[in-house]
Protein backbone atom coordinates (compact mmCIF):
# COMPACT_ATOMS: atom_id res chain seq x y z
CA UNK A 1 0.00 0.00 0.00
CA UNK A 2 2.85 2.31 0.82
CA UNK A 3 4.11 1.48 -2.62
CA UNK A 4 1.18 3.17 -4.30
CA UNK A 5 1.95 6.44 -2.65
CA UNK A 6 5.49 6.60 -3.87
CA UNK A 7 4.93 5.09 -7.25
CA UNK A 8 6.85 6.44 -10.16
CA UNK A 9 4.86 8.54 -12.51
CA UNK A 10 5.57 6.41 -15.54
CA UNK A 11 4.14 3.47 -13.68
CA UNK A 12 0.94 5.39 -13.27
CA UNK A 13 0.07 4.80 -16.88
CA UNK A 14 -0.78 1.42 -15.55
CA UNK A 15 -1.69 0.97 -11.93
CA UNK A 16 1.20 1.08 -9.49
CA UNK A 17 2.91 -2.16 -8.69
CA UNK A 18 3.14 -3.37 -5.13
CA UNK A 19 6.53 -1.82 -4.60
CA UNK A 20 7.60 1.16 -6.68
CA UNK A 21 10.74 0.97 -8.72
CA UNK A 22 11.64 4.52 -7.84
CA UNK A 23 9.92 6.32 -4.96
CA UNK A 24 8.54 9.66 -6.01
CA UNK A 25 7.84 12.15 -3.28
CA UNK A 26 6.48 14.55 -5.89
CA UNK A 27 3.19 12.72 -5.59
CA UNK A 28 2.85 14.36 -2.21
CA UNK A 29 3.84 17.85 -3.26
CA UNK A 30 1.88 17.75 -6.52
CA UNK A 31 -1.13 16.15 -4.91
CA UNK A 32 -1.01 18.75 -2.15
CA UNK A 33 -0.99 21.60 -4.68
CA UNK A 34 -4.14 20.15 -6.26
CA UNK A 35 -5.63 22.64 -8.73
CA UNK A 36 -3.20 25.47 -8.18
CA UNK A 37 -5.80 27.90 -6.92
CA UNK A 38 -6.71 25.79 -3.91
CA UNK A 39 -4.31 23.48 -2.16
CA UNK A 40 -4.99 20.74 0.31
CA UNK A 41 -4.08 23.21 3.04
CA UNK A 42 -7.39 24.88 2.27
CA UNK A 43 -9.31 21.61 2.33
CA UNK A 44 -7.75 20.49 5.59
CA UNK A 45 -8.49 23.91 7.07
CA UNK A 46 -12.11 23.70 5.94
CA UNK A 47 -12.56 20.22 7.34
CA UNK A 48 -10.95 21.06 10.67
CA UNK A 49 -13.12 24.16 10.99
CA UNK A 50 -16.23 22.07 10.43
CA UNK A 51 -14.91 19.47 12.88
CA UNK A 52 -14.32 22.08 15.58
CA UNK A 53 -17.97 23.09 15.36
CA UNK A 54 -19.17 19.49 15.33
CA UNK A 55 -17.10 18.40 18.32
CA UNK A 56 -17.90 21.44 20.48
CA UNK A 57 -21.58 21.28 19.59
CA UNK A 58 -21.80 17.55 20.13
CA UNK A 59 -20.00 17.48 23.47
CA UNK A 60 -21.87 20.45 24.97
CA UNK A 61 -25.41 19.72 23.90
CA UNK A 62 -25.24 15.94 24.30
CA UNK A 63 -24.08 16.49 27.90
CA UNK A 64 -26.93 18.93 28.57
CA UNK A 65 -29.58 16.65 27.12
CA UNK A 66 -28.15 13.57 28.81
CA UNK A 67 -28.24 15.33 32.18
CA UNK A 68 -31.88 16.19 31.57
CA UNK A 69 -32.77 12.59 30.77
CA UNK A 70 -30.46 10.98 33.28
CA UNK A 71 -31.07 13.09 36.39
CA UNK A 72 -34.08 15.36 36.16
CA UNK A 73 -37.70 14.41 36.52
CA UNK A 74 -40.21 15.98 34.23
CA UNK A 75 -43.51 15.11 32.65
CA UNK A 76 -43.37 12.60 29.78
CA UNK A 77 -39.69 11.95 30.31
CA UNK A 78 -40.07 8.23 29.61
CA UNK A 79 -42.00 8.96 26.43
CA UNK A 80 -39.42 11.41 25.08
CA UNK A 81 -36.62 9.04 25.96
CA UNK A 82 -38.28 6.20 24.04
CA UNK A 83 -38.87 8.49 21.08
CA UNK A 84 -35.21 9.43 21.14
CA UNK A 85 -34.17 5.78 21.08
CA UNK A 86 -36.60 5.13 18.24
CA UNK A 87 -35.06 7.87 16.11
CA UNK A 88 -31.88 5.82 16.00
CA UNK A 89 -33.74 3.26 13.96
CA UNK A 90 -34.99 5.76 11.43
CA UNK A 91 -33.26 5.47 8.05
CA UNK A 92 -31.62 8.81 7.30
CA UNK A 93 -32.91 8.74 3.74
CA UNK A 94 -36.42 9.46 4.95
CA UNK A 95 -35.53 12.88 6.27
CA UNK A 96 -32.83 13.88 3.82
CA UNK A 97 -35.00 15.40 1.08
CA UNK A 98 -37.10 17.66 3.34
CA UNK A 99 -33.99 18.62 5.32
CA UNK A 100 -32.33 19.67 2.10
CA UNK A 101 -35.42 21.66 1.12
CA UNK A 102 -35.45 23.29 4.56
CA UNK A 103 -31.79 24.29 4.45
CA UNK A 104 -32.20 25.41 0.86
CA UNK A 105 -35.15 27.59 1.87
CA UNK A 106 -33.00 29.44 4.40
CA UNK A 107 -30.09 29.74 1.98
CA UNK A 108 -27.81 27.41 3.94
CA UNK A 109 -27.00 25.07 1.05
CA UNK A 110 -23.31 25.32 0.14
CA UNK A 111 -22.40 26.33 3.68
CA UNK A 112 -21.34 24.35 6.73
CA UNK A 113 -24.58 25.07 8.60
CA UNK A 114 -26.35 21.86 7.47
CA UNK A 115 -23.29 19.85 8.51
CA UNK A 116 -22.68 21.51 11.89
CA UNK A 117 -26.16 22.45 13.11
CA UNK A 118 -27.35 18.89 13.86
CA UNK A 119 -24.43 18.50 16.26
CA UNK A 120 -25.62 21.52 18.22
CA UNK A 121 -29.04 19.93 18.56
CA UNK A 122 -28.11 17.13 20.92
CA UNK A 123 -25.32 15.64 18.86
CA UNK A 124 -27.28 12.52 17.94
CA UNK A 125 -29.33 10.03 19.90
CA UNK A 126 -26.45 7.59 20.12
CA UNK A 127 -24.26 10.00 22.10
CA UNK A 128 -27.09 11.14 24.33
CA UNK A 129 -27.85 7.54 25.17
CA UNK A 130 -24.19 6.81 25.86
CA UNK A 131 -23.96 9.74 28.25
CA UNK A 132 -27.25 8.93 29.98
CA UNK A 133 -25.88 5.47 30.73
CA UNK A 134 -22.73 7.04 32.10
CA UNK A 135 -24.60 9.57 34.23
CA UNK A 136 -26.68 6.78 35.74
CA UNK A 137 -23.45 5.28 37.01
CA UNK A 138 -22.49 8.45 38.91
CA UNK A 139 -23.54 8.13 42.57
CA UNK A 140 -26.54 10.26 43.42
CA UNK A 141 -25.04 11.01 46.82
CA UNK A 142 -22.84 13.56 45.09
CA UNK A 143 -25.92 15.41 43.81
CA UNK A 144 -27.57 15.24 47.21
CA UNK A 145 -24.50 16.59 48.96
CA UNK A 146 -24.27 19.48 46.53
CA UNK A 147 -27.96 20.16 46.96
CA UNK A 148 -27.54 20.42 50.72
CA UNK A 149 -24.79 22.92 50.06
CA UNK A 150 -27.35 24.94 48.16
CA UNK A 151 -26.51 24.04 44.58
CA UNK A 152 -29.30 24.28 42.02
CA UNK A 153 -29.84 21.70 39.26
CA UNK A 154 -27.74 23.94 37.04
CA UNK A 155 -24.98 24.13 39.62
CA UNK A 156 -24.98 20.36 40.02
CA UNK A 157 -24.63 19.97 36.28
CA UNK A 158 -21.82 22.50 35.99
CA UNK A 159 -19.81 21.55 39.06
CA UNK A 160 -20.52 17.83 39.54
CA UNK A 161 -21.86 16.03 36.49
CA UNK A 162 -20.09 17.79 33.66
CA UNK A 163 -16.59 17.38 35.15
CA UNK A 164 -17.27 13.74 36.01
CA UNK A 165 -18.51 13.07 32.49
CA UNK A 166 -15.08 13.79 31.08
CA UNK A 167 -14.08 10.25 30.06
CA UNK A 168 -17.38 9.69 28.30
CA UNK A 169 -17.16 13.10 26.66
CA UNK A 170 -13.77 12.20 25.25
CA UNK A 171 -15.41 9.19 23.62
CA UNK A 172 -18.15 11.41 22.22
CA UNK A 173 -15.59 13.88 20.88
CA UNK A 174 -13.52 11.20 19.14
CA UNK A 175 -16.50 9.45 17.61
CA UNK A 176 -17.90 12.76 16.43
CA UNK A 177 -14.59 13.73 14.90
CA UNK A 178 -13.98 10.52 13.01
CA UNK A 179 -17.56 9.99 11.90
CA UNK A 180 -17.99 13.51 10.60
CA UNK A 181 -14.64 13.27 8.85
CA UNK A 182 -16.08 10.28 7.02
CA UNK A 183 -19.64 11.51 6.64
CA UNK A 184 -19.37 11.78 2.92
CA UNK A 185 -23.08 11.77 2.12
CA UNK A 186 -23.79 15.05 3.90
CA UNK A 187 -20.69 16.70 2.49
CA UNK A 188 -21.41 15.77 -1.09
CA UNK A 189 -25.01 16.86 -0.64
CA UNK A 190 -24.48 20.29 0.84
CA UNK A 191 -21.06 21.55 -0.29
CA UNK A 192 -20.67 22.41 -3.95
CA UNK A 193 -18.16 25.22 -4.37
CA UNK A 194 -14.55 24.20 -4.42
CA UNK A 195 -13.32 26.83 -1.96
CA UNK A 196 -15.51 25.18 0.68
CA UNK A 197 -14.50 21.62 -0.15
CA UNK A 198 -13.63 19.19 2.60
CA UNK A 199 -10.76 16.74 2.23
CA UNK A 200 -13.15 13.97 1.25
CA UNK A 201 -14.72 16.03 -1.53
CA UNK A 202 -11.31 17.00 -2.87
CA UNK A 203 -10.30 13.35 -2.96
CA UNK A 204 -13.40 12.57 -4.95
CA UNK A 205 -12.35 15.11 -7.56
CA UNK A 206 -9.19 13.07 -8.05
CA UNK A 207 -11.28 9.98 -8.63
CA UNK A 208 -13.65 11.66 -11.04
CA UNK A 209 -10.91 12.95 -13.29
CA UNK A 210 -10.76 11.35 -16.70
CA UNK A 211 -7.34 9.92 -16.08
CA UNK A 212 -6.93 9.10 -12.43
CA UNK A 213 -3.62 10.22 -10.93
CA UNK A 214 -3.36 7.18 -8.70
CA UNK A 215 -0.07 8.21 -7.17
CA UNK A 216 -1.35 11.61 -6.07
CA UNK A 217 -4.73 10.23 -5.07
CA UNK A 218 -3.24 7.60 -2.81
CA UNK A 219 -0.69 10.02 -1.38
CA UNK A 220 -3.46 12.43 -0.39
CA UNK A 221 -5.66 9.58 0.81
CA UNK A 222 -2.91 8.59 3.19
CA UNK A 223 -2.61 12.15 4.47
CA UNK A 224 -6.37 12.42 4.84
CA UNK A 225 -6.50 9.69 7.45
CA UNK A 226 -3.66 11.20 9.50
CA UNK A 227 -5.92 13.38 11.70
CA UNK A 228 -8.12 10.40 12.56
CA UNK A 229 -5.05 8.30 13.31
CA UNK A 230 -3.62 10.97 15.61
CA UNK A 231 -6.91 11.48 17.43
CA UNK A 232 -7.37 7.76 17.78
CA UNK A 233 -3.89 7.10 19.12
CA UNK A 234 -4.11 9.99 21.57
CA UNK A 235 -7.19 8.57 23.16
CA UNK A 236 -7.28 4.92 22.22
CA UNK A 237 -7.64 3.87 25.84
CA UNK A 238 -10.84 5.84 26.21
CA UNK A 239 -12.03 4.67 22.87
CA UNK A 240 -12.32 0.96 23.44
CA UNK A 241 -12.52 0.90 27.23
CA UNK A 242 -14.71 3.99 27.45
CA UNK A 243 -17.37 2.51 25.27
CA UNK A 244 -17.09 -0.85 26.96
CA UNK A 245 -17.75 0.63 30.39
CA UNK A 246 -20.39 3.18 29.50
CA UNK A 247 -22.33 1.42 26.83
CA UNK A 248 -23.64 -1.82 28.08
CA UNK A 249 -24.98 -1.16 31.52
CA UNK A 250 -28.68 -1.45 32.23
Amino acid sequence: MVGGRLAQKTEELRLPTLWPATPMWENYSEGWRFSGEYTFARFFGNTLLMEAGNVIGGVLTAALVAYGFGRLNFKLRGLWFSIMLLTMMLPGQVTVVPQYILFNHFGFVDSYVPLVLPHFLGGGAFFIFLLVQFIRGIPRDLDEAAKIDGASVYGIFLRIIFPLLKPALVTVAIFTFIWSWDDFFAQVLYISSIDKFTVGLALRMFIDQFEIQWGQLLAMSLLSIVPSVVIFLLAQKHFVEGIATTGLKG
Binding site: M1, G4, L15, T61, L64, V65, Y67, G68, F69, L72, N73, F74, K75, R77, F81, S82, I83, L85, T87, M88, M89, L90, P91, G92, Q93, V94, T95, V97, P98, Q99, Y100, I101, N104, F120, L121, G124, F126, V132, V153, W179, W181, D182, D183, F184, L189, G200, R204, F206, I207, W214, M220, S221, L222, I225, F232, V240, I243, G247, L248, G250
Partner: protein, 318 residues
Amino acid sequence: MRHGVMTVAKPDAAKRPGRKRRGTGDANWAGYLFISPWLLGFFLLTLWPIAQSFYLSFTEYSLLDQPKWIGTDNFAKIFGNDPLFAKSLGVTFMFVLVSVPLKLLFSLLVAMALNQSLRGMDIYRTAIYFPSLIGGSIAVAALWRNMFGLDGYVNQVLAWFGIQGVGWISNPDTALGTLILLNTWQFGSTMVIFLAGLKQIPQELYESAAVDGARPLRKFLHITLPMLSPVMFFNLVLGIIGSFQMFTSAFIITKGGPINSTYMYALFLYEKAFKHYQMGYASALAWILLVIVAALTAINFFVSRYWVFYESDGGKVK
Protein backbone atom coordinates in the same frame (compact mmCIF):
# COMPACT_ATOMS: atom_id res chain seq x y z
CA MET B 1 -26.31 8.24 12.43
CA ARG B 2 -24.13 5.41 11.41
CA HIS B 3 -23.66 3.20 14.39
CA GLY B 4 -25.94 2.30 17.19
CA VAL B 5 -26.00 1.87 20.90
CA MET B 6 -25.26 -1.12 22.92
CA THR B 7 -28.48 -2.23 24.35
CA VAL B 8 -31.94 -2.97 23.19
CA ALA B 9 -34.28 -0.05 23.63
CA LYS B 10 -36.33 -0.35 26.72
CA PRO B 11 -39.22 2.07 26.59
CA ASP B 12 -39.37 2.52 30.33
CA ALA B 13 -35.64 2.61 30.88
CA ALA B 14 -35.76 6.21 32.03
CA LYS B 15 -38.26 5.60 34.73
CA ARG B 16 -36.76 5.07 38.08
CA PRO B 17 -39.05 3.97 40.85
CA GLY B 18 -38.82 5.76 44.15
CA ARG B 19 -37.96 9.31 43.25
CA LYS B 20 -41.26 10.88 42.44
CA ARG B 21 -40.89 14.58 42.19
CA ARG B 22 -42.25 14.95 38.74
CA GLY B 23 -45.06 17.39 38.24
CA THR B 24 -43.56 20.16 40.31
CA GLY B 25 -43.35 23.16 38.05
CA ASP B 26 -39.69 24.01 38.61
CA ALA B 27 -38.29 20.56 37.96
CA ASN B 28 -40.41 20.26 34.81
CA TRP B 29 -39.10 23.52 33.55
CA ALA B 30 -35.46 22.62 34.19
CA GLY B 31 -35.85 19.18 32.62
CA TYR B 32 -37.32 20.56 29.44
CA LEU B 33 -34.71 23.29 29.38
CA PHE B 34 -31.92 20.72 29.45
CA ILE B 35 -33.38 18.50 26.76
CA SER B 36 -34.44 21.46 24.62
CA PRO B 37 -31.55 21.16 22.13
CA TRP B 38 -32.59 17.62 21.33
CA LEU B 39 -36.30 18.51 21.30
CA LEU B 40 -35.66 21.33 18.85
CA GLY B 41 -33.61 19.03 16.65
CA PHE B 42 -36.27 16.35 16.85
CA PHE B 43 -39.06 18.63 15.69
CA LEU B 44 -37.00 20.55 13.16
CA LEU B 45 -34.82 17.84 11.61
CA THR B 46 -36.79 14.65 12.23
CA LEU B 47 -40.52 15.00 12.83
CA TRP B 48 -41.21 17.84 10.43
CA PRO B 49 -39.10 16.27 7.64
CA ILE B 50 -40.91 12.94 8.07
CA ALA B 51 -44.29 14.62 7.75
CA GLN B 52 -43.06 16.77 4.89
CA SER B 53 -41.64 13.79 3.04
CA PHE B 54 -44.95 11.97 3.44
CA TYR B 55 -46.75 14.90 1.86
CA LEU B 56 -44.14 15.31 -0.90
CA SER B 57 -44.44 11.65 -1.84
CA PHE B 58 -47.85 12.51 -3.30
CA THR B 59 -46.53 15.44 -5.30
CA GLU B 60 -44.31 16.37 -8.18
CA TYR B 61 -41.67 18.78 -6.98
CA SER B 62 -38.44 19.99 -8.55
CA LEU B 63 -37.39 22.54 -5.89
CA LEU B 64 -37.96 25.36 -8.38
CA ASP B 65 -41.73 25.70 -8.37
CA GLN B 66 -44.43 24.70 -5.92
CA PRO B 67 -45.10 21.01 -5.21
CA LYS B 68 -47.92 19.78 -7.43
CA TRP B 69 -50.34 17.26 -5.95
CA ILE B 70 -50.51 14.15 -8.15
CA GLY B 71 -52.07 11.68 -5.75
CA THR B 72 -50.59 8.22 -5.80
CA ASP B 73 -48.98 8.60 -9.24
CA ASN B 74 -45.45 8.35 -7.83
CA PHE B 75 -46.21 5.06 -6.16
CA ALA B 76 -48.04 3.74 -9.21
CA LYS B 77 -45.03 4.55 -11.34
CA ILE B 78 -42.55 3.09 -8.85
CA PHE B 79 -44.38 -0.20 -8.54
CA GLY B 80 -45.71 -0.41 -12.06
CA ASN B 81 -43.18 1.07 -14.36
CA ASP B 82 -39.72 1.58 -12.93
CA PRO B 83 -37.26 -1.21 -13.63
CA LEU B 84 -34.61 0.64 -11.59
CA PHE B 85 -36.76 0.36 -8.46
CA ALA B 86 -36.99 -3.41 -8.72
CA LYS B 87 -33.33 -3.64 -9.66
CA SER B 88 -32.04 -1.47 -6.81
CA LEU B 89 -34.31 -3.16 -4.28
CA GLY B 90 -33.08 -6.56 -5.42
CA VAL B 91 -29.44 -5.48 -5.21
CA THR B 92 -30.00 -3.99 -1.76
CA PHE B 93 -31.77 -7.08 -0.42
CA MET B 94 -28.95 -9.22 -1.74
CA PHE B 95 -26.44 -6.94 -0.08
CA VAL B 96 -28.25 -6.98 3.26
CA LEU B 97 -28.83 -10.72 3.14
CA VAL B 98 -25.17 -11.55 2.65
CA SER B 99 -23.33 -8.71 4.35
CA VAL B 100 -25.25 -8.56 7.63
CA PRO B 101 -24.70 -12.20 8.71
CA LEU B 102 -21.15 -12.12 7.36
CA LYS B 103 -20.30 -9.02 9.34
CA LEU B 104 -21.95 -10.36 12.51
CA LEU B 105 -20.06 -13.62 12.28
CA PHE B 106 -16.75 -11.97 11.51
CA SER B 107 -17.01 -9.35 14.25
CA LEU B 108 -18.03 -12.00 16.77
CA LEU B 109 -14.98 -14.11 15.91
CA VAL B 110 -12.65 -11.12 16.16
CA ALA B 111 -14.25 -10.01 19.43
CA MET B 112 -13.78 -13.49 20.90
CA ALA B 113 -10.16 -13.56 19.81
CA LEU B 114 -9.58 -10.14 21.36
CA ASN B 115 -11.34 -11.13 24.57
CA GLN B 116 -8.46 -13.42 25.55
CA SER B 117 -6.29 -11.93 28.24
CA LEU B 118 -2.88 -11.87 26.65
CA ARG B 119 -0.06 -9.53 27.34
CA GLY B 120 -0.16 -6.52 25.06
CA MET B 121 -3.78 -7.14 24.06
CA ASP B 122 -4.42 -3.40 24.02
CA ILE B 123 -2.07 -3.06 21.11
CA TYR B 124 -3.72 -5.85 19.13
CA ARG B 125 -7.08 -4.34 19.87
CA THR B 126 -5.98 -0.99 18.51
CA ALA B 127 -4.29 -2.55 15.51
CA ILE B 128 -7.43 -4.45 14.61
CA TYR B 129 -9.97 -1.84 15.51
CA PHE B 130 -8.36 1.08 13.80
CA PRO B 131 -8.37 -0.02 10.13
CA SER B 132 -12.02 -0.83 10.35
CA LEU B 133 -12.73 2.50 11.98
CA ILE B 134 -11.53 4.40 8.96
CA GLY B 135 -13.12 1.85 6.64
CA GLY B 136 -15.99 4.18 5.80
CA SER B 137 -13.74 6.99 4.66
CA ILE B 138 -13.38 8.04 1.08
CA ALA B 139 -9.63 7.43 1.27
CA VAL B 140 -10.26 3.76 1.89
CA ALA B 141 -12.86 3.64 -0.86
CA ALA B 142 -10.23 5.04 -3.24
CA LEU B 143 -7.70 2.50 -2.06
CA TRP B 144 -10.23 -0.27 -2.42
CA ARG B 145 -10.98 0.76 -5.97
CA ASN B 146 -7.29 0.64 -6.72
CA MET B 147 -6.72 -2.70 -5.02
CA PHE B 148 -9.53 -4.51 -6.78
CA GLY B 149 -8.94 -3.05 -10.23
CA LEU B 150 -7.92 -5.28 -13.11
CA ASP B 151 -4.23 -4.41 -12.51
CA GLY B 152 -4.75 -3.91 -8.80
CA TYR B 153 -2.87 -5.41 -5.90
CA VAL B 154 -5.29 -8.27 -5.43
CA ASN B 155 -4.70 -9.55 -8.93
CA GLN B 156 -0.97 -9.02 -8.61
CA VAL B 157 -0.95 -11.25 -5.55
CA LEU B 158 -3.16 -13.79 -7.30
CA ALA B 159 -0.76 -13.77 -10.25
CA TRP B 160 2.00 -15.03 -7.96
CA PHE B 161 -0.07 -18.16 -7.55
CA GLY B 162 -0.68 -18.34 -11.24
CA ILE B 163 -4.31 -17.25 -10.95
CA GLN B 164 -5.64 -14.89 -13.56
CA GLY B 165 -7.88 -12.45 -11.65
CA VAL B 166 -10.82 -10.59 -13.07
CA GLY B 167 -11.57 -6.88 -12.85
CA TRP B 168 -13.35 -7.33 -9.53
CA ILE B 169 -15.11 -4.00 -9.70
CA SER B 170 -15.69 -3.83 -13.44
CA ASN B 171 -17.22 -7.29 -13.61
CA PRO B 172 -20.96 -7.36 -12.85
CA ASP B 173 -20.65 -10.81 -11.28
CA THR B 174 -18.09 -9.80 -8.67
CA ALA B 175 -18.72 -6.08 -8.09
CA LEU B 176 -21.40 -6.51 -5.43
CA GLY B 177 -19.31 -9.15 -3.68
CA THR B 178 -16.40 -6.72 -3.53
CA LEU B 179 -18.59 -4.09 -1.89
CA ILE B 180 -19.87 -6.67 0.58
CA LEU B 181 -16.28 -7.48 1.46
CA LEU B 182 -15.50 -3.82 2.02
CA ASN B 183 -18.57 -3.48 4.21
CA THR B 184 -17.60 -6.54 6.23
CA TRP B 185 -14.20 -5.05 6.77
CA GLN B 186 -15.84 -2.11 8.57
CA PHE B 187 -16.62 -4.38 11.47
CA GLY B 188 -15.15 -2.14 14.18
CA SER B 189 -18.20 -0.82 16.00
CA THR B 190 -20.07 -4.11 15.76
CA MET B 191 -17.00 -5.84 17.15
CA VAL B 192 -16.61 -3.41 20.05
CA ILE B 193 -20.23 -3.96 21.00
CA PHE B 194 -19.67 -7.72 20.98
CA LEU B 195 -16.48 -7.26 22.98
CA ALA B 196 -18.30 -5.21 25.60
CA GLY B 197 -20.96 -7.92 25.72
CA LEU B 198 -18.40 -10.68 26.16
CA LYS B 199 -16.80 -8.84 29.05
CA GLN B 200 -20.12 -8.80 30.86
CA ILE B 201 -20.57 -12.55 30.90
CA PRO B 202 -19.81 -13.69 34.47
CA GLN B 203 -16.62 -15.72 34.56
CA GLU B 204 -18.19 -18.11 37.11
CA LEU B 205 -20.41 -19.57 34.40
CA TYR B 206 -17.38 -20.75 32.47
CA GLU B 207 -15.67 -21.96 35.60
CA SER B 208 -18.56 -24.10 36.72
CA ALA B 209 -18.98 -25.43 33.19
CA ALA B 210 -15.31 -26.38 33.23
CA VAL B 211 -15.87 -28.22 36.50
CA ASP B 212 -18.64 -30.15 34.78
CA GLY B 213 -16.18 -31.03 32.05
CA ALA B 214 -17.67 -28.94 29.26
CA ARG B 215 -15.59 -28.57 26.12
CA PRO B 216 -14.96 -25.20 24.47
CA LEU B 217 -17.60 -25.72 21.79
CA ARG B 218 -20.18 -26.63 24.40
CA LYS B 219 -19.28 -23.59 26.48
CA PHE B 220 -19.68 -21.44 23.40
CA LEU B 221 -23.05 -22.91 22.47
CA HIS B 222 -24.52 -23.00 25.96
CA ILE B 223 -22.98 -20.00 27.67
CA THR B 224 -21.51 -17.50 25.24
CA LEU B 225 -24.25 -17.55 22.62
CA PRO B 226 -27.26 -17.26 24.97
CA MET B 227 -25.57 -14.64 27.15
CA LEU B 228 -24.62 -12.68 24.08
CA SER B 229 -27.97 -12.93 22.33
CA PRO B 230 -29.30 -9.50 23.41
CA VAL B 231 -26.17 -7.88 22.01
CA MET B 232 -26.41 -10.03 18.91
CA PHE B 233 -30.01 -8.94 18.47
CA PHE B 234 -29.06 -5.32 18.85
CA ASN B 235 -26.27 -5.61 16.27
CA LEU B 236 -28.60 -7.45 13.93
CA VAL B 237 -31.33 -4.81 14.06
CA LEU B 238 -28.98 -1.89 13.56
CA GLY B 239 -26.92 -3.80 11.01
CA ILE B 240 -29.97 -4.35 8.83
CA ILE B 241 -31.06 -0.73 9.13
CA GLY B 242 -27.54 0.49 8.36
CA SER B 243 -27.05 -1.83 5.39
CA PHE B 244 -30.22 -0.60 3.73
CA GLN B 245 -28.61 2.83 3.69
CA MET B 246 -25.26 1.82 2.23
CA PHE B 247 -24.14 4.69 0.05
CA THR B 248 -20.53 5.87 0.06
CA SER B 249 -18.79 2.83 -1.38
CA ALA B 250 -21.40 2.29 -4.08
CA PHE B 251 -21.19 5.96 -4.94
CA ILE B 252 -17.40 6.22 -4.97
CA ILE B 253 -16.18 2.83 -6.06
CA THR B 254 -18.71 1.59 -8.58
CA LYS B 255 -21.19 4.42 -9.11
CA GLY B 256 -23.85 1.72 -9.12
CA GLY B 257 -22.33 -0.12 -12.07
CA PRO B 258 -21.36 -2.19 -13.93
CA ILE B 259 -24.76 -2.75 -15.56
CA ASN B 260 -26.40 -1.56 -12.32
CA SER B 261 -25.10 -4.59 -10.46
CA THR B 262 -24.31 -2.44 -7.41
CA TYR B 263 -27.12 0.07 -7.83
CA MET B 264 -28.05 0.34 -4.16
CA TYR B 265 -31.39 1.74 -3.08
CA ALA B 266 -29.77 4.71 -1.31
CA LEU B 267 -27.92 5.59 -4.48
CA PHE B 268 -31.12 5.36 -6.51
CA LEU B 269 -32.87 7.66 -4.06
CA TYR B 270 -29.96 10.09 -4.06
CA GLU B 271 -29.87 10.30 -7.85
CA LYS B 272 -33.63 10.79 -8.14
CA ALA B 273 -33.51 13.63 -5.62
CA PHE B 274 -30.25 15.42 -6.27
CA LYS B 275 -29.40 14.56 -9.85
CA HIS B 276 -32.83 14.60 -11.46
CA TYR B 277 -34.41 16.86 -8.84
CA GLN B 278 -37.50 14.68 -8.56
CA MET B 279 -38.09 15.42 -4.89
CA GLY B 280 -41.59 13.98 -4.83
CA TYR B 281 -40.53 10.74 -6.42
CA ALA B 282 -37.54 10.47 -4.08
CA SER B 283 -39.79 11.07 -1.07
CA ALA B 284 -42.03 8.25 -2.19
CA LEU B 285 -38.94 6.02 -2.42
CA ALA B 286 -37.91 7.13 1.06
CA TRP B 287 -41.28 6.19 2.50
CA ILE B 288 -41.18 2.79 0.83
CA LEU B 289 -37.76 2.28 2.42
CA LEU B 290 -39.13 3.35 5.79
CA VAL B 291 -42.00 0.86 5.55
CA ILE B 292 -39.66 -1.97 4.53
CA VAL B 293 -37.19 -1.24 7.32
CA ALA B 294 -39.95 -0.82 9.90
CA ALA B 295 -41.53 -4.12 8.83
CA LEU B 296 -38.21 -5.96 9.03
CA THR B 297 -37.48 -4.44 12.44
CA ALA B 298 -40.92 -5.44 13.70
CA ILE B 299 -40.40 -9.00 12.43
CA ASN B 300 -37.02 -9.01 14.13
CA PHE B 301 -38.50 -7.95 17.44
CA PHE B 302 -41.22 -10.55 17.12
CA VAL B 303 -38.83 -13.38 16.27
CA SER B 304 -36.41 -12.28 18.98
CA ARG B 305 -38.79 -13.67 21.63
CA TYR B 306 -37.76 -17.13 20.49
CA TRP B 307 -34.01 -16.75 20.54
CA VAL B 308 -32.95 -13.77 22.63
CA PHE B 309 -32.21 -14.61 26.21
CA TYR B 310 -32.60 -12.01 28.95
CA GLU B 311 -30.94 -12.94 32.18
CA SER B 312 -33.23 -10.73 34.22
CA ASP B 313 -36.21 -12.88 33.22
CA GLY B 314 -34.94 -15.55 35.56
CA GLY B 315 -33.11 -17.58 33.00
CA LYS B 316 -35.87 -18.56 30.64
CA VAL B 317 -35.88 -17.62 27.00
CA LYS B 318 -38.48 -14.94 26.84
